[in-house]
């Protein structure tokens, strides 16, 4: 069978699993429903990997392309929906699927008490979430992308609010739902504008039609509106406010998926839409795109890092570190080079493993001590050396320590970004050091009881970390999956950076991804895109040194903070920034509107 035939199955298989679980879950014992969920997720991962393997090996046609329902285009115009298994898209689908398998294994012993009579509902929702994310990664149709965008949204809102007994998850899920839905509607308005102009819905078709005329206000509006929704998902400043609220309160296994891959899919969407639709002469000029994403990326990275440092709620701290890293990913996309894209892809791969592992460790703390508050946990987890070690390794990997995948990604991306603006590598080092340092600081305090006990500060609004365990009662003994899964994730992240074959495959993926004409020809004409010959991304001396520098800085920051909690805790300068994160849905929506205006202002020169 043609490998391309497997593409729709990457979406359909988890859906079938979800339907089976929803129907039979009530009669299945917990173990059976978990096994079933894992089996379907693993089958999906296998087919995604098969597609990826096929896409990674040049043959007739550079990568698998499948028209659902067999509606192949005639003369470059079709009526169907196309799924494209280019290495980057298929790779993301594989990453999503593998992470879902890890998450399902992790939650094996996690929720002690699933909702009665609905045992299968948690794995079923996770499978639907997986289908949405995989579909979004491999679709080559703009409206279809919107459908999957909404699908992953709906599944994610429900999963975020899963623990209805608690007030915080509900509030976080609501902000998440409202802001993301609004972003999605903006995207749909943009899609409609593009349809009115071109009369097409496929990415490749729209791009071709747009290039028959020059850019104008309509194209600009379409770009801004479509990108708004994707940037909301990517949590770029000022669309980011929902993310910490949602990620801090969702059940830990869900956090692993939200921070590990869902947010990154927003970045992927921005890059995908730009490269396939707007990168031609009829789209948005390259300098305008670079400027807009660079501004948003830098703001996001700095604000995320500043907020991350000030958190004492561990999951919130990790959530802000995700915001900050998303900023770095956006910069990697903004520079518009194949190196930038492949570096970012490596960074995302490495980051997914590391961030998921860190959340997994935090989940252990939550279920053991009923809190994820850095101050309250001070020195209490001395008895968990293995978890502590994993947490520390995760913190170091987050700083970009060679040879972790996150380190390689950071090195390659900052090298690529350095060609656009010389100061960008410094930003990468600074942001990695601050976010990694915050994680290390928390790790030192919690697992080693290092330094002095931090005191609570008065007068400032903040989210403390008292929570109710997600397991039925507090854990006495730590079940094996809760430790094995983060260990495996960190190992995978290490492997991504250490095995050169991965890097060269990602390098090829980045080159194919940025070949606008090649994508359109492969999709519409069935002609193979020539694989561009580029040196594969690899470790360079500067990258290694900068990685070591950011790691060293992070350790120094952490040590300083542990030693002098009062002076390094919370600069008064940043108090107004803190207050912006108000938890108020109206505020977040207002910022979304303002962000759309900002994006417009930044991109206006691109149509002249």
């Amino acid at each position: 069978m043609d490998t391309a035939r497997l593409l729709p199955l990457v979406v359909a298989a988890p859906l079938l699993g979800a339907a089976v679980l929803a129907a039979t879950g009530r009669w299945l014992p917990r173990l059976a429903s978990d096994l079933l969920g894992c089996a379907f997720a693993a089958a999906t991962a296998a087919s995604a990997l098969l597609v990826l393997f096929r896409a990674g090996h040049p043959g007739p046609g550079a990568y698998p392309v499948e028209w659902v329902g067999g509606w192949r285009p005639v003369g470059g115009s079709g009526v169907g929906i196309v799924l494209v298994g280019d290495p980057l898209g298929a790779g993301l689908a594989a990453l999503v699927s593998l992470l879902v398998v890890a998450v399902l294994l992790y939650s094996w012993r996690y929720f002690d008490e699933p909702p009665r009579h609905h045992t299968g509902s948690f794995p079923a929702l996770i499978l639907v979430f997986q289908a949405g994310m995989c579909g979004f990664a491999i679709t080559g149709d703009l409206f279809n992308a919107f459908v999957f965008f909404e699908l992953m949204g709906v599944a994610a809102y429900a999963l975020t609010g899963f623990r209805v007994e608690e007030p915080k998850p509900l509030q976080g899920a609501l902000a998440f739902g409202v802001v993301n839905s609004l972003g999605a509607y903006a995207t749909l308005l943009g899609i409609t504008l593009l349809y009115a102009r071109t009369g097409e819905l496929g990415l490749a078709q729209i791009g071709r039609k747009l290039d028959t005329a020059g850019p104008d206000g309509l194209v600009l509006a379409a770009f801004v509106l479509v990108t708004t929704g994707l940037l909301v998902k990517a949590a770029a400043v000022p669309f980011h406010f929902w993310l910490p609220d949602a990620h801090a309160v969702a059940p830990t296994p869900v956090c692993m998926l939200l921070s590990g891959v869902m947010v990154e899919l927003g970045v992927y969407g921005v890059a995908r839409v730009y490269w396939t639709v707007f990168a031609g002469p009829g789209g948005l000029a390259h300098p305008a795109f670079t400027r807009a994403l660079l501004v948003l990326g830098v703001l996001t990275a700095l604000l995320g890092a500043a907020m991350c440092w000030q958190q004492r709620h561990l999951k919130r701290l990790l959530a802000f570190s995700t915001v900050s890293h998303t900023g770095l990913f956006l910069i990697g996309v903004a520079v518009l080079t194949p190196e930038g894209v492949s570096g970012t892809a490596l960074y995302v791969l490495g980051h997914a493993g590391v961030k998921a592992a860190l959340f997994a460790c935090t989940g252990v703390l939550l279920d053991r001590y009923a809190t994820v508050d850095e101050h309250e946990l001070f020195g209490r987890a001395r008895g968990l050396p293995v978890v502590g070690a994993l947490f520390a390794v995760g913190g170091l990997a987050l700083c970009g320590l060679p040879p972790f995948g996150s380190g390689l990604g950071k090195a390659v991306t900052e090298e690529a970004a350095g060609h656009t603006a010389g100061w960008l590598p410094a930003l990468y080092v600074l942001v990695s050091a601050v976010t990694g340092g915050a994680v290390l600081r928390a790790g030192l305090r919690i697992f080693a009881g290092a330094g002095r006990r931090p005191r609570d500060q008065e007068g400032e609004p903040e989210t403390t970390g008292e929570e109710v365990p997600e397991t039925g009662q507090r854990l006495g003994r730590i079940p094996a999956p809760l430790v094995a899964v983060p260990a495996a994730l960190l190992t995978a992240s290490l492997a991504i950076g250490a095995i050169p074959a991965v890097a060269s495959a990602v390098g090829r993926a980045g080159a194919l991804f940025t070949d606008t004409g090649g994508y359109r020809r492969t999709v519409l004409d069935g002609r193979a895109a020539a694989t561009p010959a580029l040196p594969p991304p690899h470790w360079q001396t500067t990258g290694v040194l900068l990685g070591l520098l950011s790691t060293g800085l992070a350790i120094a920051l952490a040590a300083l903070a542990v030693r002098h909690p009062a002076r390094t805790g919370r600069p008064a300068l940043l108090a107004p920034v803190r207050r912006l994160q108000s938890g108020h849905i109206g505020d977040y929506v207002a910022w979304l509107a303002a962000g759309t205006a900002l994006l417009t202002v930044l991109t206006v020169p691109g149509i002249r």
Partner: protein, 114 residues
């Protein structure tokens, strides 16, 4: 007339967002979100309309009669279902929030700050 339907869609979107920003009741906010979404239906169908076109449903033999664009109608259908389900889910969240927080006033939700 040539741009009125488009402008109406834009107006509905903006007024819905205004409602979300100024809302003092989360149920009302969810209603405003539904309003915002109806702008997308209006824009979709306005884009697909053709002067003098009929509905793209044929009774028997295919004729040469001019029909409006069926694709946007299919998209709008999808959109409507999406909107209703999102509304349902958000209302469920508000309902539980009311139980756990004792309020549906966004100004009074104070658990997540900073």
């Amino acid at each position: 007339m040539t741009v009125l339907p488009y402008l109406v869609a834009g107006w509905i979107f903006l007024i819905g967002v205004y409602g979300l920003v100024t809302s003092r009741n989360l149920i009302h906010a969810v209603g405003c979100l539904a309003v915002t979404q109806s702008s997308t239906y209006v824009l979709l169908l306005a884009v697909g309309y053709r002067n003098g076109g009929t509905a793209p449903v044929f009774s028997d033999a295919p004729t040469d009669s001019r029909v409006v664009d069926p694709v946007v109608q299919a998209l709008a259908l999808t959109d409507i279902v999406v909107g209703a389900t999102v509304t349902a889910l958000l209302l469920a969240l508000v309902l539980q929030l009311r139980k756990r927080h004792g309020t549906v006033d966004p100004d009074a939700l104070s658990e997540l700050k900073g």
